[in-house]
Symmetry: C2
């Protein structure tokens, strides 16, 4: 599965930090079955290698991201763990070519996480997009690259809660 955190509205690296800590530690990621991307302000996309051991300290995470914006990759030599490209959400989706893309938003079509993950697990190469902003919703462009925009709870949820639930339920459904 491919996971994209759209964090482009106003820098909120704390949301990306907690969400990445959550998903990189999951069995799905440890088994090499998850690819993680973050879309940032000004249309940059960070690819986070699944072997990345993210600093748990927030300030060190921010330092790492600053280094990434300078060098375009971290570490500067050898296999990159984090890499940065100038790219919109649309361009990323066109590059990775998912067979199905689902965006999660509290204003989407109401459904359950089980139902969505059942559908995702049937796909050869599914992708999910989660909003990583403090307020507001996806842009029109982001909604348009998704095959569907769904809501799993009637109130906004933090990105990391949504991410952890998708990964868990996808593990359960894809093991069936």
């Amino acid at each position: 599965m491919l996971g994209l955190l759209d964090a482009k509205k106003r820098g909120r690296p704390d949301i990306a930090h907690v969400t990445l800590l959550e998903i990189l530690s999951t069995p799905l990621n440890k088994e090499g079955r998850l690819r993680s991307y973050i879309h940032t302000i000004n249309d940059y996309v960070i690819h986070v290698d699944e072997r990345t051991r993210l600093p748990r300290n927030y300030d060190r995470f921010v330092g790492l991201v600053e280094q990434l914006f300078l060098d375009r990759r971290v570490p500067p030599e050898g296999e990159p763990l984090l890499s940065l490209k100038k790219m919109s959400v649309k361009e990323l989706v066109e590059t990775v070519r998912p067979t199905m893309t689902v965006a999660f938003s509290s204003v989407g079509t109401p459904t359950t996480i089980q139902q969505v993950c059942r559908d995702l697990a049937k796909e050869r190469h599914p992708a999910v997009i989660i909003g990583g902003f403090a307020h507001g919703h996806f842009s029109e462009t982001t909604s348009q690259v998704a095959d569907m925009v769904v809501s799993i709870y009637d109130k906004p949820l933090d990105a990391w809660v949504v991410a952890s639930r998708i990964v868990y339920e996808y593990e359960v459904e894809s093991a069936k």
Copy 2:
């Protein structure tokens, strides 16, 4: 449900921070159905009120915990969001009197998260204990207060991954 993070071996407030961010944001907690405690080094227990809006910045969280150890409560006036008591895990369990207590450990009896949460959801007042240490397992005393010690994955998992899965699956099972 009552959740206890046993973080008593070597101070690792980063584990408590991410785990609390994860569980305080869940529907279960927002609906007032989760009580969260942290057991720290030297047998202190922190009760985290469900309305607590935890700082997302790690250093500010550490500052808050330092203030808590000085004043025994945060904020110092009015309804406390965090409160501290000198108490062992055994004493806490004797005080809150759960009808069933399950501890999660990679060396426990193998099971699935669905099965455990199905059992927990049948209880009037269930409790779970999660290890919040970087290495090692529960002490003998902690294992003894639990009715069972279970393992949901054949390798160690970070505390926040375990916590988010328990809360999610408990929500699903208790809604049935």
